[in-house]
Subunit: 205 residues, 3 copies
């Protein structure tokens, strides 16, 4: 089950990367690369930080083909993609949650402290988008918009909390997914966001 | 002793990260993340480059809590921080030097060549600030301003030189710290900087 | 032979990094750092992704001195460099191809799947330039201009294909180099580029 959700997740993330590359007028190669990094970059950063070698996608060529194909496909269907907006945001939210759970599992397996497990989940969830935005020279969107990284944090905490309480794993996954999805969709619908910090003084560079 | 200086260092770096995030109107999550990366990112890059696993902060949760708390606290006291400008610049300079010495020690322990030891010190000292600036989409400040990276280079060379000469370790630390601090403060006071390179021709992209 | 080409390659890449740093008015230290990262960053990213430790340049101090010297030298001769434009573009193309072949060899030695071998070649070839552009806050040029990353892809495929067919290694190198060089120079001369993707709709961030 989680594998299917994962494939949907990397496809959705790859498409979001391709759209961002399109805003910078990149060529086909750039689109493929940004798609790849957006979809698989979060897991890559996690694996490097946790020394979880070999890195996941290097052992699974189909993941590589999937995200490149999704990126190139996006070039073709870009003109009609806004009609799929709601579906796309739903898949993107599912991806965020799936990545978070998978990231926690990896760090748990390697016996990292709980706070690092939570961070591994969040890093897997949001770092693809952060790398995408760095490569497209813009300030990371996931740190300024409707609740996104916070959804990842909530899912990680809920997932670990329920696990700690001994809740059945399938029920745990169901609860974590539905809570995260509900929060994300409510956040998009009503434009909920965290308090922001605006600072303009120039005394310090 | 070095531990206390280290804690002061990561606190000061986290605060500088939070201020930079505030200039980009990030949310609380973004502030925490940039604070974390600014404070612990230099050591992380060093550990990855030197294969010094597990990465330091993954084994020390208190460091993680410290930098996130420092980042969030900065949001609260931002309005009065300019009054602490001089204290802040002092702590920032101490952080730069502490990071440099710690970075050299890590590479020395792993028997890297001397030039790599120097680079490990500098990377630990300045890469947190470089990652901060990349995430806030601006050209790295530490490569354009009053002597900063150069202070790190001087400290690394002095520290290794005195070690090579067999100087007592405590005296070495004292000499390296005071020289580095003096140079940095003199550089800020009199706006000393390295020669810059300005190039505007367009024949090459 | 490949070693000499490699030294030329890192020198040319270091110079391109120094010029980019000059466009951002960086100081001598910044010029050295960007030169270093442009020349050796691609191989570093490859080594980290493939867990190919210790990272190559940490065991070869002369590479480090070469790229820093090349960066600083560029500051001195910048005013006349446009006269060497054609030579420079030739060396840059040779560097791209040498990096690609070396990257493939590293991944082959570590028994990664073929698609990862191709990616290792491309990453070695183009990631130095991508890191350079990230540090100089501009959208990566290699993903928007005349065929560049594509040359790396072609060289990787040709090199692996001829190897698979059992072609003698020296002949293989000669064929891969000359094909890659020809394609790159033709692309520069006639401004050949891949189709680009331009997307301006705002429904998605």
């Amino acid at each position: 089950m989680l594998l299917y959700v994962y494939l949907i997740a990397i496809t959705a993330e790859a498409m979001s990367g391709a759209l961002a590359a399109g805003r910078r007028n990149m060529d086909m190669f750039g689109v493929s690369l940004i798609a790849f990094i957006t979809a698989l970059g979060g897991g890559t950063v996690r694996d490097i930080l946790l020394a979880n070698y070999p890195i996941n996608w290097t052992q699974h060529p189909p993941y590589i083909y999937t995200v490149i194909a999704a990126g190139l496909l996006t070039m073709l269907i870009a003109r009609v993609m806004h009609r799929l907006k709601n579906l796309f945001l739903l898949l993107d939210a599912m991806g965020l949650i799936a990545f978070t759970v998978i990231g926690c599992d990896v760090a748990l397996r390697l016996n990292y402290p709980t706070v690092v497990v939570v961070m591994a989940g969040i890093i897997t969830g949001i770092f693809g988008g952060i790398l995408r935005d760095i490569l497209c020279s813009r300030t990371p969107q996931v740190l300024r918009q409707e609740l996104y990284a916070s959804v990842s944090l909530l899912v990680a905490l809920l997932y670990l909390g329920l696990m700690h309480l001994g809740v059945d794993h399938d029920i745990n996954l169901l609860a974590s997914f539905s809570s995260g999805l509900a929060l994300r969709l409510v956040a998009i619908r009503w434009k909920l966001s965290l308090p922001t910090f605006s600072y303009a003084e120039r005394w310090y560079h």
